[in-house]
Subunit: 351 residues, 2 copies
């Protein structure tokens, strides 16, 4: 065991908190870097440094005191990242991070590996949107290339009125347009790879979103074994190609028996929270093990489980169910649309 | 959910650390009181106050800032406890704590409930030991009434030479003498009771000790269902009689189909660490839920498991097993006989 090592985490939200707990259980020290003094991860970290994600000096000072640097989200300033990369080993590598930071780069990368995505187009101006809409003559989704999450930074454009409503007289951030596809269901897979190339994948879960925010993840899905295997093969192709170290979340649309990758997250992922109570290992344990060169654990699922996000609330009807494992992130303010916690409801196998 | 409540924990060892993690997952703040600046629980607490366990002023100041006070060990100064009890609700109550602090009181209390213990005798002087040895004419165990743990504070006396060796010219702390019984096996049960009187008991595990220190706990045991039920009935009788709130560990000797209670621990217990990976709830989650008036969880076991203590070491041959869940407490120094961590090795059901 590598004792007395310090893991630095960029970000102090719930993902960082749950990573910090997994790291603490293995005896590692955890240093958190985040801008918010009330961040959830601060509760369980040995040390917290407060600073912004574009403050290179502060970030570099933070990185000097850690053995391995990891992160809970993708939206970190590129220049700062390059400087950090000179200071300390970042796992997963900034290559994966840069790809997933930009929707255009991400989809282009996936296509280059022969992985299907929805059809997408580069959009640099409002005129580009008008031209595309006229050509395709069907609704398109406009998404900013960077900084989108939980359905933020995207609008549906059906006609010129929509263009006027959302974009007239505004400057347009670099964006992409995506075809709107109607998919049968959405799956996601949590996969982990270590430095030696060992890979473990959790069983794919089925996700339900509302207003772009994940509501539930359910295991098992009724998806065929063939499709689940294909999803795993695709995820493996990505982590192997990247020489990836750590946990990655891969989201799929499932349509007419075909799998389209919606997005990749180079980190632990909300759709993997079920692993905390349904599997012999959690995604958080696996991520810490991978980045600290400890052997990966079994990803076998021991129970059926539904993960419910607590969105804009810290209460749940489920709390009286003796098989409901509740997690409350400890965010200071309860806000609409904000992920305040989650519940893993165990549905025993065979029940 | 009771948010923004603060739980105070007396003690900063591994039990406090694992309690703090369970509390953090439910969004509670955790304040730790302990004398050691490098204590394991400090890594995961929102606040740590350093002080001794007989420093009433410091303890009272600590208690003023918490909503509920709990503890990870029994050896807290009685006078300080009484003062704390005026400040804040202590759960489990100090009644349970006082009983378990003193081996004579504890065994007398158990006998008063009709629960069998080994035969025991009050020992106040070396002359008492001599008289008893002459009368019984068989080996006796001399144990201090207070402050014993992990086999410390006890010696086996077979003859006058042993008495001379251990006690000649020394002052004797208030002690008990116990008959040495040869038992077939040792079981323990982890039970939790809430304020309303709801009770959940985990399945009894089988313990193996070496030099007075717990080595392994194994689930399931080959003990009969009748005996396991009897153990549960005895544990329930104790927590009900005490009006107990929280988790209690009860250790049993099993001899010729009879159950003898060896000791009760008014807290989470080493022999319950298997629950972290073998059950739908852990003893730490249950304790926090009970003391914070949240509904208790299912104690059902989903997997077979062996818990191995890491004693005087932070390495294990088990680490390469993909079903070995390792916990390293993060103690500063590795010392012989010191519990440095534990491993829960999952043995899948039916395998």
């Amino acid at each position: 065991m590598r004792l007395n090592k310090t893991i630095g985490i960029l970000g102090g939200g719930q993902l960082a908190k749950m990573l910090a707990i997994a790291a603490a259980n293995l005896g590692f020290n955890i240093n958190i870097y985040c801008p918010d003094r009330d961040c959830p991860a601060a509760q369980v970290a040995s040390k917290v440094i407060f600073g912004n994600y574009d403050d290179s000096d502060n970030l570099v000072a933070f990185a000097k005191n850690v053995d391995i640097l990891t992160y809970e989200f993708e939206n970190i300033d590129t220049k700062a990242l390059e400087e950090l990369d000179q200071q300390v080993e970042i796992r997963p590598s900034i290559k994966a991070l840069k790809i997933s930071q930009d929707r255009y780069t991400e989809k282009s990368y996936l296509n280059s590996l022969g992985i299907k995505t929805t059809q997408f187009y580069k959009i640099d101006s409002v005129a580009d949107i008008e031209k595309l809409l006229n050509r395709l003559k069907k609704p398109i989704l406009i998404k900013t290339r960077r900084l989108g999450y939980d359905g933020k930074g995207q609008v549906l454009i059906k006609n010129q009125d929509d263009i006027n409503k959302y974009f007239l007289g505004k400057s347009l951030a670099p964006s992409i347009a995506e075809e709107v596809i109607s998919f049968d269901r959405e799956l996601s897979i949590i996969i982990v790879r270590d430095k030696k190339g060992n890979i473990k994948a959790f069983e794919p879960g089925e996700n339900v979103h509302e207003h772009g925010i994940l509501l539930t993840t359910t295991l098992p899905t009724s998806t065929s074994e063939v499709l689940k295997n294909n999803a795993t093969i695709i995820a493996k192709k990505i982590v192997n190609d990247l020489g990836y170290i750590g946990v990655m979340g891969v989201e799929f649309f499932l349509k007419e028996q075909g799998l389209y990758v919606n997005e990749i997250a180079p980190r632990v992922h909300n759709s993997g929270h079920w692993t905390m109570d349904g599997s012999y290992s959690s995604q958080f344990q696996q991520h810490i093990r991978a980045i600290m060169d400890l052997p990966l654990l079994s990803t076998e699922r021991h129970s059926d489980v539904i993960m419910y996000n607590l969105i804009g609330t810290v209460t749940s009807n489920l709390v009286n169910n003796e098989l409901a494992k509740v997690y409350i992130y400890g965010k200071k303010d309860v806000l609409p649309g904000r992920k305040m916690g989650h519940v893993n409801l165990i549905k025993k196998k065979g029940s």
